[in-house]
Amino acid sequence: MRALTWHGKHDVRVQTVPDPAIVNPRDAIIEISSTAICGSDLHLYDHYIPTMKSGDVLGHEFMGTVVEVGAGNRKLKIGQRVVVPFVIACGQCFFCQRQQYAGCDNSNPSETAGMSELLYGHAMTGAFGYSHLTGGYAGGQAHYARVPFADVGPIVIPEGVEDETVLFLSDILPTGWMAAENCAIEPGDTVAVWGCGPVGLFTIQSALLMGAERVIAIDEHPGRLALAQKLGAVLVNFANTPVREALAELTGGIGPDACVDAVGMEAHGHSVDNVYDHVKAAVGLVTDRTHALRQVILACRKGGRVSIPGVYGGFTDKFPIGALMEKGLTVRSGQTHVQKYSDKLLQMILDGKIDTTFLISHRLPLEQAPEGYRLFKQEQNSTTKVILKPQQSAVH
């Protein structure tokens, strides 16, 4: 089959690789009809996430048709259309039983689990196409994918529903939803969202659905800010506006009740601390640039809530622990417990309560995936979401 493979920083290629096969009883093989490039794939593209190996197949947002099912899988049937959550969860361990699917203790193979235990204190959950810290599973930017524990994760899609309306159930929609849920929104609340990429945009939409009185969107790209404005957000462009002053003015000096870091480890900015982070990252002394998170913590009101859906992978410094403690902030974070939200969000899509297609800017054949990565990385203003079509032939 053809698949998008990683070979190093800014080096991804579409290559022919072996087809996957059923290995375990609960597996399924999915023939992929649509897959997307995620903002977190850019952290791999920029080689910020450790334990990548040359030849790894990327992609953790994908959907398609079930073409093969293991003998122990009593849920899926050949021919069903499914969206596959990026988190691989067994459904039976301590964490899955508590719907903390992104903490599943059984999906990361024992050979790789020890690495993340060294780095994070506990072994991480398995995930598709996201380094060997999360198991080294092949991703879904390919013709086919093997899905382990396929009787737990895959979301069966009713007939007649377009791929594009449900594809983002795999990651960015539940990630935005959980980010808003982590804000514990109360009536009258102002929620500020750093980053108007796909997760930030879905966080804005979710926060408004959850009853936030006002959502403030922070970004530097006019194209992305325009999408946030259409959703109903108030805009702050950090390219020409001091963010903390603007947020203080917009909230009468109180500060936002909840602040969301939807940027993660590669924050852009023009301030002194960001330059410091950038230099240290460039010489390999730190992995994570946390400019957005610092600003989140300083801007949030006393007793407020900080939600971090943005991905971090390692360590940082100049972390404003004093502001965090003295203001009594609550921090909630984590990879998304996708499976917890699948049914609810699918129903909201089918009921027309959530718009999932407004952020799609590009649709490309899989063969042009490297160009999709380049656009998403370098032309962020006009490239908000790239969908890849494995079954389409390349257009030359």
């Binding site: 089959m1 698949a3 493979t5 070979h7 290629r13 290559q15 690789v17 072996p18 087809d19 996957p20 096969a21 290995v23 375990n24 009883p25 609960r26 190996k53 040359s54 030849g55 790894d56 197949v57 122990g72 067994c90 459904g91 039976q92 361990c93 301590f94 039983q97 203790d105 059984n106 999906s107 990361n108 193979p109 024992s110 050979e111 790789t112 689990a113 020890g114 690495m115 235990e117 060294l118 072994a123 398995g126 198991g135 080294g136 599973y137 092949a138 390919a142 093997r146 382990p148 524990f149």
Partner: protein
């Protein structure tokens, strides 16, 4: 290192336990000279089920890396076939102690230079979270030639092996299968 929680509930431990603090596989053969390696994992299944599964030694190869098969000779004896085509070893073991739903201990009796004792201990986890399983293995000698043989047979040091075997045991008992992303079938790659 915190070692106290593991054996405090045990009244007659045949082996003392020294906990490893790393699982990165960096330990050399010298590090394990005469050493006892123990590790614990919580498995969300009843003690009786886990004990029953492991009491049939034929099951052990399903989660112990490098063990090709274990043939049950009689209720107390088993023959282990370990390694791969490049390096194969066979040894016999006898059960030295069992306590129903609580402990299985065995030791090598013949056929190997890798003289060792091993045990699996099962205790109720606090808060109804299943069973804490502790695996302990003690080699009479692991340095030099024997240590090299261990490394060739298992491709990893004893501490890492105990950790990975227990994780696989947990996966198998909780989910019915062992997670894998081994290329090419389980995870194709270029």
């Amino acid at each position: 290192m915190a070692t106290e929680p593991v054996l405090t509930a045990t009244t007659e431990a045949p082996l003392s336990v020294q906990h490893s603090s790393t699982e990165d596989g960096a330990a050399s053969a010298e590090d394990t000279e005469g050493e006892v390696i123990g590790r614990s994992v919580t498995v969300d299944r009843p003690r009786s089920e886990l004990y029953g599964f492991c009491r049939d030694f034929a099951h052990l190869s399903r989660f112990m890396a490098g063990v090709r098969r274990v043939e049950v000779l009689d209720s107390q004896h088993a023959r282990w076939v370990v390694g791969d085509a490049d390096e194969l070893a066979v040894w016999d073991t006898e059960v030295v102690e069992t306590r129903a739903d609580a402990l299985i201990a065995w030791r090598t009796v013949s056929g190997t230079e890798l003289l060792h004792r091993a045990q699996l201990e099962f205790r109720d986890a606090a808060g109804g979270r299943g069973t804490v399983v502790t695996a302990t293995i003690s080699y009479e000698q692991t340095g030099g030639r024997v240590g090299e043989m261990l490394a060739r047979l298992f491709h990893r040091d004893p501490r890492t092996r105990a950790y990975q075997d227990l994780r696989r045991f947990k996966q198998l008992m909780e989910t019915g299968e062992v997670a894998t992303a081994a290329p090419p079938n389980a995870a194709p790659r270029a």
